[in-house]
Symmetry: C2
Amino acid sequence: MTIASDLIRGHTDAIILAHLLRRDSYGYEINKSILSKSGGTYELNEATLYTAFKRLTDAGYITFYWGAEKIGARRKYYHITQQGREAYKRMQEEWQTTKQIIDNLLATED
Amino acid sequence: MTIASDLIRGHTDAIILAHLLRRDSYGYEINKSILSKSGGTYELNEATLYTAFKRLTDAGYITFYWGAEKIGARRKYYHITQQGREAYKRMQEEWQTTKQIIDNLLATED
DNA sequence: TATTATGCATTGACAGATTAGGTATATTAG
DNA sequence: CTAATATACCTAATCTGTCAATGCATAATA
């Protein structure tokens, strides 16, 4: 079962921030992690991912630096800022609230 | 706390279908019901609501008829079809799945 | 040597949501 | 009486995040 993108929409930023709270990481790795954590059902579209990096960088939630790989493709590492940590916290809280409201709204009895 | 519209996006159709599973209803009433059930935190934008009615009608998930009100503004009542019931069921299942996946993706530890 | 995996990035199109506007009737406050 | 509010419907233009398609480059594998 594939997740409809409209259901995941709006969570992209929070998902990326959650990953970066664990450790600095780069696009490809983050996407593979998402695929793994979702049990193979969900993978961010690359364009969506890089658009999100841009958005998060502009917002001051993440910074980046180029990795020092001697072999293989170059990697652009992202690092979460203090502002980013606070934003993640807000998003996580908002998700918990929204989740319950949607549960209520989708129920057919009280 | 207001729900970010991007978090509710994609649930509009399911929310409306859930309401219509209880009884036939009309736009204004559905929206007030959503406001009430969400504890006053969420109300569909009218344009969003009427766009959704159009979409659901086109999809064959709902039908409508004009109410027989003798007084007050006229009401357009919507009724859920069998196809609509099946669609609701799929959406509800998809939500349950997606909810858990998002919980996983937003977690910062295993 | 051709394919797959790793890795970054942009462009144009699309769909659902918002903003802003419109119409009309009934009730309530001043 | 009359202005404001609540009830009730609807649409056009615009915004925003996502997707499909495409491009570039290196390393490992078949």
